[in-house]
Amino acid sequence: MKPAAFDYHAPESVDEALELLADEAVESRVLAGGQSLVPMMNFRLAVPEALVDLRRIEELRYLRIGADGALEVGARTTQAELLRDPAVTTGWPLLHDGVTHIGHPQVRSRGTVCGSLAHHDPHGELPALALALGATITVAGPAGRRQIAAEDFFVSFYEVALEPGELVVEARFPAPPAGSGWSFREIARRHGDFALVGVACLVTPAQTRLVVFGAAERPLLLADPSEVAAAVRPLDDLHASAEYRRQVAVLLAGEALAEARERADG
């Protein structure tokens, strides 16, 4: 469980990082919190030739509320920093609650919000939360910056809509409108495990965003629990049967929607 040899870079700016990532002759990976990438490297499941570590890029270290009221999370911001911010707790309670289900304090102290989005484990909480909250992911690349809606960002298992040489620099979570309600539910084998299956739900005066995760190759955005059974494509593994995931996804979706509506009314 030792990684193969790799080059290590710790650039101090996004431009410098992009320059390193632009070298097509070298297979590079971006290192943020390293909570998934490093174990994969130790198992030699990932064997990058170079790592581009974001730790020195001060311009990516922020957690702020933008002009339009959206929560802007820079690529160096950890999950623990997000949880500690009272503005998040009050303004984005769904995000706050969902992130508390990620790992344990040690994991959240290192793990970053944008890193979890870019890694895209479909059993992970953050991709589902981004989708439920209608987040936008900002990526920087050789051709400049572009914004990708969460709906379009998550492609399949560990695959997102990043082009070669691109880097996630920010996740923007719009402020839920007044009168919104939310719910987050997941079933995990132990505290802090990836979900067997879970649901993140946001009900606003205008729409219902019901996201089921852990039941397909990416989180699924649905409008109503009645759609869940047909929409999911769950897998069998050591921890749960596909049928279990399907049944519990349906159950959790119904419960989450009811709870979100109740909170919206209240």
Partner: protein, 781 residues
């Protein structure tokens, strides 16, 4: 004031909590090379050509060693314990035991995934792993067998081609008229219960380092082992060296639970490489290796039947068990015979029919894991008693109470021969009182108040007995230094149990010194001339009594010398807090250290014929084992639609005889219970049909964390053992024995109206939903 029975803070903790512990991988041996292994990717395969040229060409790679090379120098490994069958055991159960030796590195054939095939020695572990990737081994896959029941069927692939089948062990026993009891019974229950395979998984994995002393050519070995002296003897035999020229030391060891008791191929290969290369060599196992290649535990299937009268009195038990030994029968009768001798536990049952078959399979070998055959026995009998209670419509605690051996029956002869060859006799205990005390603490009503149609509450029980303190011996040496410090040398090494504290308490009590003045040294084959090790819940019984005897002998020695110094008779002297005084002469005192100092060779006043120092050695050889016991009660909530099981409360009533340090005892018990909870709900080693390990990392092999801990309630009932001077019984394993049965019983109780029967764990949510679904489909024809 007595120091026994006091929760003295662990002297170990300050170093460890400061991060100053020094474990195997912390050793910095000058110029040490590091090792990585190419391990078999196949459950069963012929080994073809091995091409190591590319690996050897990598800068920093020193050696690549395969089984064809070691075959010339290292005989295949066999452990004597696998072949030991006491005559009385032979007479009682007619065991058939077959052992085939285990090559350190196989030359011809691999028989389990994870088996070491090629050893790479390099300047660093990183380089060694790079080189492993460059070694090309041609494997020709052979049919594999994974499941023990399948392995025993005719026509199953043979794990050992020299055998005609895969049966490594069989034995049987019958007492009383079992058939007549079943024929006459008012109630008969019969079920199959499986104890699934688990991995001990201590926090620290295995590790070995070795070097050759340039001065005298002796071999120095460091190993994260439970048994330094056994490893010394083993290496002496397999490396053809005098034991005196091998010193084995266990540095700080981060847990073991049985997994570090066996001698492994790596234990032999690392010293072999150090001798061959003339350089220090180190191997620190990583977690993936540990899960794939260190011994595992459990893996038994029991078909058990109980015959009872209409009151629930058990008339007879019939049990037919199959156990999976893995690819080698490493330790013979140890685990399967333990299962047999613990099956009836605390119950007074007239007739017993038992048979056991142990199969070799293409999986990693199994070996003792905390409980070592007892949790499997308890899962079978306790689950069966729950079925009996259900069939009778009776309270499962009442049915148990009706069948318990009473305190008036002690000492109780079970009519069974224990594994050490002596008659199995429960020396002391009060099982009905243990059960009463546990039941008083359950607080079922508090949890019932939170129940709903969806959230079901259940209570489950497990009662067990545990033979502890097995011989053959343990050596202790106690010495008083001129500084007043008391040094205690023991053959029992520690893996975190707190021996430096508890054995210090035992020595302090026997000597009359403060606990803080005692230093315990263990884990070093040079500390005492002979030793056994820490396993099988034996250290306090065997090493503890050895320390107590040695300390008492030193005390007598000190008093004799002091009598001369104080012009008094030895019987007039007493020792308190390290100071000798003469009764009735308050001014006549002498520190123990001064007596030791008086014996210095340069003291002109030294009496002729006085001992060279204040020191004594004692070897304690226990008789039959002493019997600890416990009652475990689990309270669980089951969420019906999701199948999530939550352990709400866990009650333990425990009897380990006289308790030396209550805080340490409680910690041992709770730690064991947490491992049992892991087995009940989370942990399972899974192989697929081809023998590939599917649970080879900690995302798939799920250890419980503090987050999974329920509230605990512990009560001790101390019935001192009459079998040893300290009155102690072992307790290291007890905590892990009951939880799988108690939790399964609680889940079954919670789902009783649905007709759910729990035949096996772990009870993850998906399995619980399956149980509910299959009970529902059975109920609606």
């Amino acid at each position: 004031m007595s120091t026994i029975g006091v929760s003295v803070p662990r002297v170990e903790d300050e170093r460890l909590l400061r991060g100053e512990g020094r474990f195997l991988d912390d050793l910095r041996l000058e110029g040490a090379l590091e090792v990585a292994f190419l391990r078999s990717p196949h459950a069963h395969a012929k080994i073809g050509a091995i091409d190591a040229a590319a690996a050897l060409a990598l800068p920093g790679v020193v050696a690549v060693i395969d089984g064809r090379e070691t075959a010339a120098a290292l005989e295949p490994m066999v452990f004597d314990i696998a072949k030991i069958v006491p005559e009385t055991v032979r007479e009682a159960t007619a065991p058939q035991v077959r052992v085939h030796p285990m090559p350190a590195l196989p030359a011809e054939r691999v028989t389990y995934v994870g088996q070491p095939v090629v050893m790479v020695v390099a300047e660093s572990r990183y380089l060694a792993e790079d080189a492993v990737d460059l070694v090309a081994v041609e494997f020709e896959p052979l049919p594999a067998v994974v499941d023990a029941e399948r392995a025993l069927e005719p026509g199953a692939p043979l794990v050992e081609p020299d055998w005609e089948d895969n049966e490594a062990i069989s034995f049987s026993f019958e007492r009383g008229d079992v058939d007549a009891a079943f024929a006459a019974a008012a109630v008969v229950v019969e079920e199959s219960f499986r104890s699934h395979r688990q991995h001990p998984s201590p926090i620290e994995t295995r590790g070995v380092a070795a070097g050759v002393d340039p001065q005298d050519g002796s071999l120095a070995v460091w190993s994260s082992t439970q048994t330094p002296h056994l490893l010394q003897d083993f290496l002496a035999r397999w490396l053809h060296r005098d034991p005196e020229r091998i010193r084995v030391r266990a540095p700080d060891v981060g847990g073991a639970f049985g997994v570090k008791h066996s001698c492994y191929p790596e234990d032999l290969l690392i010293p072999f490489a150090a001798l061959r290369l003339g350089r220090a060599v180190k191997w620190a196992e990583d977690r993936a290796e540990h899960l794939a290649a260190a011994t595992q535990g459990r893996d038994q299937l029991h078909r058990i039947a109980i015959a009872a009268d209409s009151e629930g009195r058990i008339l007879a038990v019939r049990d037919s068990a199959v156990m999976n030994a893995g690819a080698f029968n490493l330790l013979g009768l140890v685990v399967p015979y333990n299962t047999f001798t613990h099956l009836l536990g605390p119950y007074d049952v007239g007739a017993l029919g038992f048979e056991m078959r142990v199969a070799v399979t293409n999986t990693v070998p199994t070996a003792p894991y905390r409980g070592a055959g007892r949790p499997e026995a308890v899962f079978a009998i306790e689950r069966a008693i729950d079925r009996l209670a259900r069939q009778l419509g009776a309270d499962p605690a009442d049915v148990r109470a009706r069948n318990l051996i009473g305190p008036e029956q002690m000492p109780y002869e079970t009519g069974i021969v224990y594994r050490d060859g002596s008659d199995q006799v429960y020396d002391s205990g009060d099982y009905p009182e243990l059960l009463r005390r546990a039941c008083e603490l359950v607080q079922r009503e508090r949890f019932e108040a939170t129940a709903s149609e969806r959230r079901r509450i259940g209570v489950g029980y497990a009662i067990y007995t545990e033979g502890t303190g097995v011989g053959p011996f343990e050596t202790a040496r106690v010495r008083i230094e001129p500084s007043g410090t008391v040094k205690v040398f023991t053959g029992a090494s520690s893996q975190g149990q707190g021996h430096r504290t508890t054995l210090a308490q035992v020595a302090a009590e026997a000597l009359g010194v403060a606990v803080g003045d005692v230093e315990v040294v263990g884990g070093d084959s040079a500390a005492v001339p002979s030793g056994f090790g820490t396993l099988a819940s034996r250290t306090l019984v065997v090493a503890g009594n050895a320390v107590s005897e040695a300390a008492a002998a030193v005390r007598a020695q000190a008093l004799e010398v002091a009598a001369g110094m104080l012009a008094a008779a030895a019987y007039e002297l007493e020792v308190e807090d390290g100071v000798i005084s003469v009764r009735g002469r308050p001014d006549a005192t002498l520190p123990l250290g001064a007596v030791a100092g008086f014996l210095t060779p340069f003291n002109p006043a030294r009496p002729r014929g006085a001992p060279p120092e204040l020191a004594a050695e004692s070897v304690y050889r226990p008789g039959p084992v002493t019997w600890a016991a416990g009652v475990h009660v689990a309270v669980v909530a089951v969420d019906l639609p999701t199948g999530v099981v939550e352990v709400l409360r866990f009650v333990i009533a425990h009897d380990c005889g006289r308790v030396v340090n209550p805080a340490i005892a409680d910690g041992q018990i709770v730690g064991g219970v947490m491992q049992g909870i892991g087995g009940a709900l989370h942990e399972e080693i899974v192989y697929d049909e081809s023998g590939q390990l599917r649970s080879g990392n900690f995302m798939d092999y799920m250890l419980p964390t503090a987050g999974e801990a329920p509230e605990f309630e512990l009560v001790h009932l101390d019935t001192p053992s009459p079998l040893n001077p300290l009155g102690v019984k072992g307790l290291g394993e007890g905590g892990a024995i009951g939880p799988p049965a108690a939790i399964a019983g609680a889940v079954e109780d919670a789902l009783a109206d649905l007709g759910v029967v729990v035949h096996r764990g772990p009870l993850g949510p998906s399995r619980v939903r399956d149980l509910i679904a299959s009970a529902a489909s059975a109920a609606s024809p």
